[in-house]
């Protein structure tokens, strides 16, 4: 599917690149002729187009942020084409995009292949991955070991004793559980399986990755929307879906037991709370999964945007820095509306400091 979608984008990107080089020259030319007074340029450096690809997890955020940013900085055009975290990392490494976003950092071997030299991880989004279900259970509660056993087909009935133990007093149907997962490789799968690996105390055996070895007696859907759609249309189904798609499909989702033993529902506030309990490395890499804190929703995923430390094009570099700064400051206010959560303030400051280090010629 992805290949069919990317072709038009490729053409658009190429066209846009041509446009950029055409437009990018204008301000310098006008400067050279000496017209310094009375400029009305709103973007520092002049009109410019930034092309990006990467995580679909934060595509909704990129769309609203781009729209809002273009309003305050009318000369900048931003095309975020999605395509998945893996594509984003690859495109960024090959320098075919101006920036890229990803749900997972580079593996060490791949980081060495990044062609443009040093780069920064700028965290910009936190989002909950819900465990959505289609069963006659009011306010389902699940702990990580139970969740792990459900998703690797050790628990096959909704009234299994392990589920009953997580839901004291609840009436559970004696129906079969249908597990739904992603058919396409996905950062959401990677974060969900990472969480199970981390939090299930050894119950999870399939390890973590963009695809794992799901049992053959499970169902698969394409994208978050595909999983949500199968869960919605299949009695007894359970699947992992990001919060915005779960809400859009009107699916109920489980409260998940966090490190402090509290069952927490995925909400913007609980997602933000997960951000408060994280430990961040100097390069701003962290994991919001299985975070500490009473109010933290434990299956909280994070996403970064990648930017080269040494920009080669003045106009583009300036616009990139302005957009990145917007993403981690004012842009953060847009997140709750689309069912994502802002990164904590302390992390915002660190991100801004990192962006300030980016050199523009």
């Amino acid at each position: 599917m992805a290949t069919h979608i990317t072709t038009p984008w490729l053409i658009a990107t190429m066209a846009a690149l041509g446009l950029t080089t055409a437009c990018g020259k204008k301000p310098e030319e006008s400067k050279a002729t000496g017209g310094s007074g009375g400029t009305t340029t709103t973007t520092p450096g002049g009109p410019v187009t930034l092309n990006a690809s990467g995580a679909t997890f934060q595509k909704a955020f990129q769309e609203v942020a781009t729209e809002a940013f273009t309003k305050i900085s009318s000369g900048t055009k931003i095309n975020y084409s999605g395509g998945g975290s893996g594509k984003g990392r690859q495109d960024f490494a090959d320098q075919v995009v101006d920036f890229a976003c990803t749900d997972a950092p580079y593996k060490d071997a791949d980081a060495a292949k990044v062609k443009g030299g040093e780069f920064f991880y700028i965290p910009n989004v936190l989002g909950a991955i819900t465990v959505s279900y289609h069963a006659d259970v009011d306010k389902l509660q699940l702990s990580a070991p139970t969740l792990a056993k459900i998703f690797q087909r050790e628990i096959k009935k909704w009234n299994d004793p392990a589920i009953a133990a997580d839901n004291p007093g609840a009436k559970l149907p004696a129906t079969d559980i249908v597990v739904v997962h992603r058919s396409d490789g996905s950062g959401t799968t990677e974060n969900f399986t990472k969480y199970l690996d981390l939090a299930s105390a050894g119950a999870w055996k399939l390890k973590s990755g963009s695809t794992v070895e799901w049992s053959p007696d499970t169902q698969a859907g394409n994208g978050n929307g595909g999983v949500a759609q199968i869960v919605k249309s299949t009695a007894g189904a359970i699947g992992y879906v990001d919060l915005s798609d779960a809400k859009a499909s009107g699916l109920p989702y489980a409260a998940i037991k966090n490190q402090n033993g509290k069952y927490v529902e995925p909400t913007a506030a609980a997602t933000s709370a997960a951000g408060d309990g994280i430990e961040v490395k100097d390069n701003l890499i962290f994991s919001a999964l299985d975070a500490k804190g009473d109010a933290a929703y434990p299956i909280t995923a994070q996403s970064w945007c990648l930017i080269y430390a040494k920009q080669t094009d003045k106009t583009k570099g300036t616009a990139l820095k302005a957009y990145f700064r917007y993403l981690v400051t004012d842009g953060q206010k847009l997140l709750p509306e689309i069912d994502f959560a802002p990164i904590p303030n302390s992390l915002q400051d660190k991100a801004v400091a990192q962006i300030d280090k980016v050199q523009v010629p």
Binding site: M1, A2, D184, G185, S208, P216, Q219
Partner: protein, 289 residues
Amino acid sequence: MIDLRGKVQHADTAFRWIALAAAATVLVVLGLIAFTMTDRSLPVLERMGLRFFTSSRWSAPEGEFGAAAFIFGTLYTATIAVVIAVPVSLGVALFITQAAPPWLKKPMVYMIDLLAVVPSVVFGLWGAFVLSQHFGLGRSFLTAGIILAIMIIPIITSLAREVIETTPNTDKEAALALGATRWEMIRAAVLPHSKGGIVGAVMLGLGRAMGETIAAALVIGSALGQISANPFKPGNSMPAVIANEWGEADELHKSALIALAVTLFVITIVVNLAATAIVQRSMRRSRGG
């Protein structure tokens, strides 16, 4: 080139070279594809060895890549497709050529050809919404097989129709003159004459069914490690796996997906060679050799 009057014919020379270049390009491209693909699939083949073809465990996080289940799924769905498509296609082709009233012939041919230009993603979505949900077939080998059958019917039909139309009228009239009914005439004159071409058409359809990506990815169910003769079970095929997993694959995983592509490439070539051999043998036989 020198013509009869001893003049050099530049046009002829140019044509010869251009034609040669065109022919060479195809071979060079094919060779380059085979080379790069094989080269890039080496890491996984070195790691897995023959188990790549015999194991059906496919676990990217553990670096275990066994394609057996996907090879099975590819062949199984393609077989289902051919089993469904061949009788339908032959029926349509025979109807158009032998039984249809003249006014119906053209619209029929036109409709069948129209079926061939529908993009595969449309078939896939139709299958996902109508066959798997509305008719409750789910995502399974059978759903994929039916969709693939619909996709290859136009190819088989139009090739079979063209071959059947080349049956000499004298053969047909001879059969009828001997008192054959229309069906006996088809059996005695039309089918023996067209056998080779029909087999070739079926093999082309089979090749297309094996390589179909998007429609299969949408309806086959993406189940890992499924080797089951039960057509109602979800499975997976090589092109569907490549389409689904390429975007987020890391180095070794990509190498495994490329190795799948090479495997598909080889299987398709084998099928085509087999088709050529069958066609030639049956042609020799029909000539009485």
